[in-house]
């Protein structure tokens, strides 16, 4: 399975483990919210890195007390038109101060990639059969942004007034 980071396809270092499968000792693993909640005490003590996958109807507030232990939160796009994960990523970053990796997975298109990065996603794992080409190009489609988010891209508004300050 391929993961996209900065538009570039890379091998996936994380293993998604089914709820009824044993956890590999040393791999970086992603478990479902249900498993995390059921085995929380044990999983918190695990040595290797761990992440939790949330379905689009599962709010990140459900894991807010565990974010100190989680290296990754994966947010699902069950359909590419279900945009809840965009808000969930912002809640994770801006409200809950999560600094680990945020991954989008499922039915994603390159046309959403820039939006995802602006909302705080780091990586994208398209569902099997989805194209992984074109993500690097998608990053270059826009140079102007109107909305301030907490990424480091300057908005049109900031650039306008920076320009005026320089001119003055």
């Amino acid at each position: 399975m391929t993961v996209l980071r900065n538009g570039v396809p890379q091998p996936n270092e994380w293993v998604r483990v089914a709820d009824d499968a044993p956890l590999p000792e040393t791999d970086k693993v992603i478990v479902s919210l249900e498993r995390w909640q059921a085995e929380r005490v044990n999983l918190r003590q695990r040595n290797a890195a761990i992440g939790v996958a949330l379905k689009s109807e599962q709010s990140p507030l459900l894991i807010q007390d565990d974010l100190d232990r989680l290296s990754l939160v994966a947010l699902e796009f069950p359909k590419f038109t279900d945009g809840r994960a965009f808000s969930h990523a912002r809640v994770l970053r801006d409200r809950l101060g999560f600094t680990g990796e945020i991954r989008g997975f499922g039915q994603v298109l390159r046309d959403q990639y820039l939006f995802m990065l602006r909302c705080g996603f780091d990586t994208v794992e398209p569902a099997a059969g989805k194209r992984v080409e074109g993500y690097a190009e998608a990053l270059k489609e826009f140079s102007v942004f109107y909305q301030p988010t907490n990424d480091d891209r300057a908005t049109a508004l900031q650039l306008r007034h920076r320009k005026e300050a320089v001119a003055a």
């Binding site: 709010s59 109107y146 301030p148 988010t149 049109a156 007034h161």
Partner: protein, 560 residues
């Protein structure tokens, strides 16, 4: 009006190129139709009954003469020589070819126009009062804030895949000319006790199959907090709005399910977390935008022009047009002119390429090159000197654009209906045409007075039937078109939802039924000053119901 700076211009070019790439990927089979559909909708491209339809954004309804000429050019070159102005102050073309669309968008970009977010489940093109900047009763120019919202909402990274479409309207006067409370968010600019400018948020209004008048959710949001409060509202909606049922996915359903108070509490909680963030609106940006809407330097004119008064006295047709189609202006000696796109027997809101070119010329000659589109599908010339009105009227008349019927019964809002739309159950345009022919006598029209008649071809209510003084809804009964009539709706400051009169009428009966409603009103009103809606509110639906169905019975037995 607002002009693009380098950033806006670059942005639109980039969006045009992106869409061109999406079309190419679709044609190459890299995108499925299912994937392409939401992408093309976000750029205003629908697939209708017979062809693609392209809806072009006219932010808050403001157009320059140069832009109008470009719209005429597109109508001529890429369509069948006309365009249709919509209830959201946009224009749509009914016959473009998919492979021409990127070229059309490039033409539009040359005049600072585009089709961004005129459809799809995202924040749509923001609408406003078509008299903004020239109305005597406004406390602020709402265009300044509409432009702030336009920029904030354009390709919003978090809110481009909402549960459903999201419409925002903004007004700044007590008189509501923008149907503000029928929107997902209706904003009214207000001043608080300290005299500071802010916004009242009416959130969760809408039409469609579940019409709801937007409740007041917050009575004052300070100007600098506009974007953070909008962000908080949209975030609550994006996370909690229903996605399991398309008919229950609008924000109005969420607001109703939670109650306006609880919804407001959730927004407040979110807002308090983000209000002091990067979303705080800098005063210098508002000042920058405000410059574009500065009142133009106008000639000093006397309030009363004798030549104009003499022309009115001498020509009753002209006087009737002045009475119906012009409004008081902020500035002495000027009037606001509304040009009716509802000629007798015409399709409401349509304009030909030749008419568009003429309107651009007239705007240059008489109105500082400015034009507005109204949500009632008419056009406005906002700056006309009284002394020019007669010449303007004569020139409009030569192009069949001098119909004196604004806010009268033939000034009909109508959706495209089954003639174009694949959602429709019935045709709208032929009903509008029949009614406008029935009431074509100008004297009778004037005598009836203010009466808003709105027609939708299906329950989605694009023709605003719930909020027409008289509303007509097309329904399908076993493959035949029928029309249900509602009375007593209003989209203005006295907003109300219409009540169903009774069983639906066939296409052959509907014009008679409407005429009986109007005649009943004329019989019952306390005088010409009492509008149709006021008589209805005084007497209720019963007297109308009785007359309409009695006369239907009489006609039936006469026919037998």
């Amino acid at each position: 009006m607002y002009r693009y700076d380098q950033f806006d211009a670059t942005f639109v070019r980039e969006r045009t190129a992106q869409f061109k790439g999406q079309v190419a990927r679709r044609l190459a089979g890299e995108l499925t139709e299912e994937e392409f559909r939401p992408l093309r909708l976000k750029n205003g491209l629908y697939l209708q009954l017979h062809a693609y339809m392209l809806r072009v954004a006219i932010p808050y309804g403001e157009l320059s003469s140069k832009q109008m000429r470009k719209l005429a050019f597109i109508a001529r070159r890429y369509d069948k020589g006309y365009g249709h102005f919509t209830t959201r102050q946009n224009i749509q073309y009914n016959w473009p070819r998919l492979d021409d669309v990127p070229a059309i968008l490039e033409h539009l970009a040359e005049v600072e126009m585009h089709a961004i977010q005129t459809s799809g489940n995202c924040i749509r093109n923001v609408t406003s009062d078509h008299f903004a900047g020239v109305a005597a009763d406004e406390i602020e120019d709402p265009r300044v804030w509409a432009e702030v919202i336009r920029q904030w909402s354009t390709l919003h990274p978090e809110f481009s895949y909402l549960p459903r479409k999201f419409k925002i309207a903004i007004i700044a006067a007590d008189k509501d000319r923008a149907a503000m409370r029928t929107h997902d968010i209706g904003l009214k600019i207000v001043r608080n006790a300290k005299g500071e400018l802010g916004f009242a948020f009416y959130t969760g209004g809408g039409q469609g199959r579940t019409p709801i008048i937007g409740p007041l959710v917050k009575s004052f949001v300070a100007a600098e907090d506009l974007l953070s409060y909008l962000d908080a509202t949209l975030r609550v909606y994006n996370m909690h709005g229903r996605r399991d049922n398309i008919y229950k996915a609008r924000i109005k359903i969420l607001v109703q399910a939670l109650g306006a108070e609880e919804f407001g509490r959730q927004v407040e909680e979110e807002w308090l977390r983000i209000k002091d963030s990067v979303l705080k609106l800098p005063a210098e940006e508002v000042a920058r935008i405000r410059q574009y809407f500065a009142p133009p330097a106008l000639e000093k004119l006397p309030a009363r022009n004798e030549g104009f008064e003499a022309k009115k006295a001498a020509d009753p047709d002209f006087a009737r047009w002045v009475q119906a189609n012009t409004d008081d202006h902020k500035v002495d000696g000027y009037r606001i002119v509304t040009i009716s796109l509802k000629p007798v027997g015409g399709a409401p809101g349509d304009a030909s390429a030749d008419q568009m070119d003429l309107l651009a010329d007239l705007a240059d000659a008489y109105s500082l090159g400015q034009i507005r589109v109204t949500h009632r599908q008419n056009l406005v010339l906002p700056y006309v000197r009284q002394q020019d009105l007669f010449d303007l009227w004569a020139k409009l008349g030569s192009a069949k654009l001098a119909e004196a019927n604004v806010e009268l019964v033939t000034d009909i809002i109508a959706c495209p209906g089954l003639d174009y739309c694949n959602l429709a159950n019935a045709r709208s345009i032929p009903v509008a045409q029949r009614i406008s022919r029935r009431f074509s006598d100008p004297k009778r029209l004037a005598e009836i007075g203010e009466l808003r008649l709105n027609i939708s071809g299906c329950i989605n209510a694009c023709g605003h039937h719930h909020v027409g003084h008289i509303g007509i809804l097309g329904v399908d009964k076993k493959g035949e078109e029928f029309y249900q009539v509602t009375l007593g709706g209003s989209s203005a400051e006295d907003i109300s939802l219409g009540k169903i009169l009774g069983p639906a009428f066939s296409l052959d009966q509907i014009t008679d039924a409407i005429e009986t409603v109007v005649d009943t009103y004329l019989d019952l009103r306390e005088g010409p000053q009492e509008r149709f809606i006021d008589t209805y509110r005084r007497l209720g639906i019963e007297p109308f119901k009785e007359k309409v169905y009695d006369s239907l019975k009489e006609r039936r037995s006469a026919a037998e």
